[in-house]
Amino acid sequence: MSYLNVLKRLKAADEVSAAEVKAILSMDHPSEGQVYPHLRGYLLSRFLLDDSVQTDDLKKLVSSSISKSLEISEGDLDVTDLSDRCISAPSVETKLALAMLKFEEALGIKVDVMERVNCVTVADYAGVVSRYL
Amino acid sequence: MDPRVENAMMTTGMKKAIDVKLNVQPIFVALYHEHVFEGPCRFGAGDELKKEYDLALDAMIYDRTKEAWATMFDPQNVNVLEPIIIYRDETFLTTDWMLEEMGKTSKETDVYLFATASRPYDLIVEFAQRIGKPICMMQDCCGSSIVIPACRARGVECYAFTDVEDANLTFSVLRVRKALSELKVLAVVRNNSNVSISAPDSFVSLEDVTMKFGARFRFINVHELMDYSHVNNDSTQNYTTPGRHDGMNITEEEMKEAEAMADEFIAKADECHMERDMVVNTFRIYRTIQKVMNAYECNAFTAPCPDVCATRRINEEKFTFCLTHTLNNENGIPSACEYDVPALFAAMLLQNVSRCPSYQGNTITAPKIGGIRQFVPRGALLNIESVQKADVELGDLENVCLTFHAVPTRFPKGFGTEMEPYSIRSFAHSGFGATVRYDFKRDIGQTITMARFDPTGTKLLVAKGTICGGVGYGDRNCSEGVFFQVENSSDFFQKQLNFGNHIPLVYGDWMKEMIRLGEVLGLEVITA
């Protein structure tokens, strides 16, 4: 993919994720079920994934995203995780945490760290977020 | 019985360490000049430059040297072999014939003693390298200080003596080293053949000891030994070796010998506080052990009494090994309580250096602190009244130590000396286990020398003391002991901590000899 195409896709993803946040904020005390589709949409757009991705597992979504962008298999990613070596954090957790924090910031909420950490699926996270809205 | 074993028992006397002699092969290397000439290493005038003159001079020096060799060394220690003379001329040839002639007695030779006329240094160095045995020389000008460093630099063990006394001292310790390399210990095993329950301060590895000193170990199972102590002409009936006809049970005849020995032992004692049958019983195991030692061709003995004690067999058989140790040591057979092999080895060295039977026991310092003589066991091991009496007798004496075990000797002044007075009391309070009781107070003022190997077999403790009291003469059990004074008991104790409990001793001051012996054995010698 060319550099210009990448920039185009990133811009489009920013627009989609902003729209998903806006949709959530338009609801008054949304339920988990109401948050879920927008959260999933937000994450897919942040991770540059399309609807063909089936998994609801948060880390797997990130793995798919990284492996797709690096053009390597997800299995290889476990071995060659290429995050910022100097701070010792693997890229999956880094990318997921950043996405979550940015999402919460956009919604104007601050989720308890342990609640965030314990989320395994998008649905888990939707449930947590809905309680803060 | 297997006729070979029987034959061995009949014909093989024990090769006692004290009977071992150092075979010294003297070699005189003479040089003569074939031609008449003068130069930087040849001088003289007239006939002095003739071959005939050289040969006559060589013969004179040789005769004088040979005469000296025959008389200068202690015949108890040294066996001087027929001297060998080698002639060489100024072509300085080293021929095979010369080397073969010099080495013709190598099988029996322990040490080569060289004397020279003129300069045969290279020949001696080459011979020493080839033969692999120690060489030595009396100090001369200037061969000894040329040859000895040359040999040492080539890894050859060699010595040079300043005088006859020095030579005799060296030969005496080399003799003991030889005897140690020929020591064969009959080791009675119940469980662990390295160390017993009571003497874990023994050598860590007997294999190391064999590799280092040459002394060997022959093992016998304690239960089989116990079975052999039963008079039985048909050994197939032995419980632990059923059907074997070559058991070493003592015969009726040997039992009669044991009884005779017991009777003599009782008759010669000042007092006997034991029943005859219990004394006879002790000689029963002594006689059995002699028989087994003969069959195994051993000349030293040890048994792990506490390990065996725990089986209750000693209680059933009604004997202990104490008297065996006493009698063995009196006969020049090093014999150690409690499977304490470093004590056995130290006893062997002391016995051979001093030619006195040794005594071994628990050794402790007994300083007087706060008006009380400390660390002396009262009650369990030593009779409380006896200790109180000893306390009074010792007064405020400082730097006092105590060695106690019921294995004193009746010949503390030397093998073959007149027997000292003794009494007989049992080890067990119930009356079994004959022990010699010796009143060490008779020998107050006597100098003693002590020694012990450390558990790694790399160090030798050598210490000196003076007898200042005794305890336990009138008691039973392990309570027999000697008090002695050392120069500094705290120093003695700190050094003892690297060696172990039992510290054998002999009468006399043998520090110089023991230190030299430690050195030729390659040990680090610690003195106290």
């Binding site: 070596r85 950043l98 | 662990n192 070796t241 059923p242």
Partner: protein, 532 residues
């Protein structure tokens, strides 16, 4: 009985996560990012996500076998950019330290090296750093420099391998060998002078303990004594008169009879009298009572030394079955007082989870043709061995080529495929031609193609001899005596023999390939590897 077989030993591992959260939002030479990435919340989220993943990985049985590894509760150490090593945190890590065999450290985000180094130094336990993206070598070099054990890893499989080595090392530390010495307790001169020169050296290097007993006292204790009275010679043993012995009582005898019957019932063929089989089972049972009494979990006895007393002949016992049955339950048990072989068995058991086999290891190539040579002819007396086994092996050899060794002793067992596996088929025949001394007969032909690892330790306890091979057949299944054996194809017999010459006769083996594990263990004990 409360014998603790080494096979049941687990490595107690304390997982520790050391993480850092920056209290303040700032950038600098060791802190970078933008937006939320510089927040405390980000640090904590990422770190705790990693800790959670680490904790979950511990339960992956395909990597960490719960039968081998016991993970203690995971400890989380949190700090900030002040880099303070707090006593309180050290106390958490060091709690109940005597039950910790190793630390498994998850290195969190950012710089926590100093804490791990101090932890290793303080507690002196092996440290394995988890396979993170940390710059491991900073920590490993620093820890190694303190003289502490540290293991660099790249994958969780590496971690598991190190745990395995540490576990086998722990097994050695927990091995207490019951040595029934008749004479020399280091080695048996009549049969295995290639044993260790000094068992003390083995204790020093590998931590293995040795407890000694007397074979006469064991043999005396094989006599059933329903009632023993203290101080009574009549009701007690000859060698320990008046002492209550470990002899089987009525209850024990009922158990012995039951075991005997089950042993007979399970066999494909039995060519011995029940009474004589029971004597062997009884010997095994009594040996186990001794091990139980002396807190031992391994056994050896110098059969040739004891043989010479004629007591085995009288009692109609050999210890072959004792060794087989012991090995099946994870108790190393060596013929002929061969302690290097015993220690080797223990090591092979540890890595494989399978019962080992030991025997005389010799040149195994059989001459082709009708005459198999004097050695092969003399070794086997049964017609089946001569007429079936030898031609079969000749055929195998002709087809497969290569070099062979034969390992022979009558101590095979039924658990070569694993302690938890079903009993393999077996027969029962005697050791003695006259009919006593039960032995398991195992037809090694059923395992043709199995890879085996062979090993032995040298007499100075300084080297491992390791080889790998493939089973091509067996011999002596239908025979009596010590003639049972397995024939193994090896790489190069001349090389094998030359190297084995410095190690000794009995070469234990186990099914499977454990060469790399053995090499790692040798390194752990600072021992040299000689591979054939």
């Amino acid at each position: 009985m409360s014998i603790k077989p080494i096979k049941d030993i687990k490595l107690n591992v304390r997982p520790v996560s050391v993480v850092l959260y920056h209290d303040y939002v700032f950038e600098g030479p060791c802190r970078f990012g933008e937006g939320p990435q510089l927040t405390y919340d980000f640090d904590k989220t990422v770190n705790l996500m990693m800790c959670k993943a680490f904790e979950e990985s511990l339960t992956d049985a395909s990597v960490f076998d719960p039968k081998k590894i016991n993970f203690l509760p995971h400890i989380l150490i949190e700090r900030n950019e002040e880099f303070i090593v707090k006593d309180e945190d050290m106390e958490k890590v060091g709690e109940d330290i005597e039950n910790v065999d190793a630390f498994y450290i998850h290195v969190g985000m950012s710089r926590t090296y100093d804490f791990m180094i101090e932890m290793a130094e303080r507690f002196n336990k092996p440290v394995i750093l988890g396979p993170t993206m940390a710059i491991d070598t900073i920590t490993t070099a620093a820890i190694a420099a303190t003289g502490r054990k540290v293991y660099p890893v790249r994958t969780v499989q590496d971690v598991a391998r190190h745990f395995d080595v540490l576990r086998v090392k722990k097994m050695m530390n927990n091995l207490a060998v019951l040595c029934a010495a008749r004479l020399n307790s280091n080695r048996s001169f009549p049969s295995a002078p290639d044993g260790f020169l000094s068992t003390e050296d083995v204790t020093k290097r590998m931590g293995i303990r040795f407890r000694y007993t007397d074979p006469h006292e064991i043999l005396d204790s094989t006599v059933p004594r329903p009632v023993q009275t203290a101080y009574d010679e009549e009701t007690t043993n000859h060698t320990t008169p008046g002492r209550i012995g470990l002899n089987p009582n009525d209850e024990d005898m009922a158990v012995i009879e039951k075991i005997t019957d089950e042993f007979i019932a399970g066999a494909a063929e039995v060519e011995m009298d029940r009474e004589l089989i029971m004597r062997s089972v009884k010997a095994w049972y009594v040996v186990n009572k001794f091990m139980d009494h002396l807190d031992c979990n391994a056994f050896t006895i110098p059969c040739p030394d004891v043989c010479a007393t004629r007591r085995l002949n009288k009692e109609k016992i050999t210890f072959c079955l004792t060794h087989s049955l012991n090995q099946e339950i994870g108790i190393p048990s060596a013929c002929e007082y061969d302690i290097p072989a015993l220690v080797t068995q223990a090591i092979l058991m540890g890595f494989s989870g399978k019962a080992p086999y030991m025997g005389n290891c010799e040149f195994g190539n059989i001459p082709q043709g009708d005459d198999p040579g004097a050695f092969w002819s003399a070794m086997f007396v049964h017609e089946a061995s001569k007429n079936e086994d030898i031609p079969f092996l000749q055929k195998q050899q002709a087809e497969k080529g290569g070099d062979y060794v034969i390992v022979t002793h009558a101590v095979p067992n039924r658990k070569f495929k694993g302690f938890d596996a079903e009993n393999a088929p077996y027969a029962i025949r005697s050791f003695a031609r006259s009919g006593f001394g039960a032995t398991i007969r195992y037809d090694f032909k059923q395992d043709i193609g199995q890879v085996v690892t062979l090993m032995r330790i040298d007499p100075l306890c300084r080297k491992f001899f390791i080889a790998k091979g493939e089973v091509i057949g067996g011999i002596g299944y239908k025979d009596t005596n010590c003639s049972e054996g397995v024939v193994v194809k090896i790489r190069d017999h001349a090389d094998f023999f030359r190297k084995q010459s410095y190690f000794g006769n009995h070469v234990p083996l186990v099914y499977g390939d454990y060469v790399e594990e053995l090499k790692a263990l040798a390194e752990e004990f600072d021992m040299e590897v000689v591979e054939a």
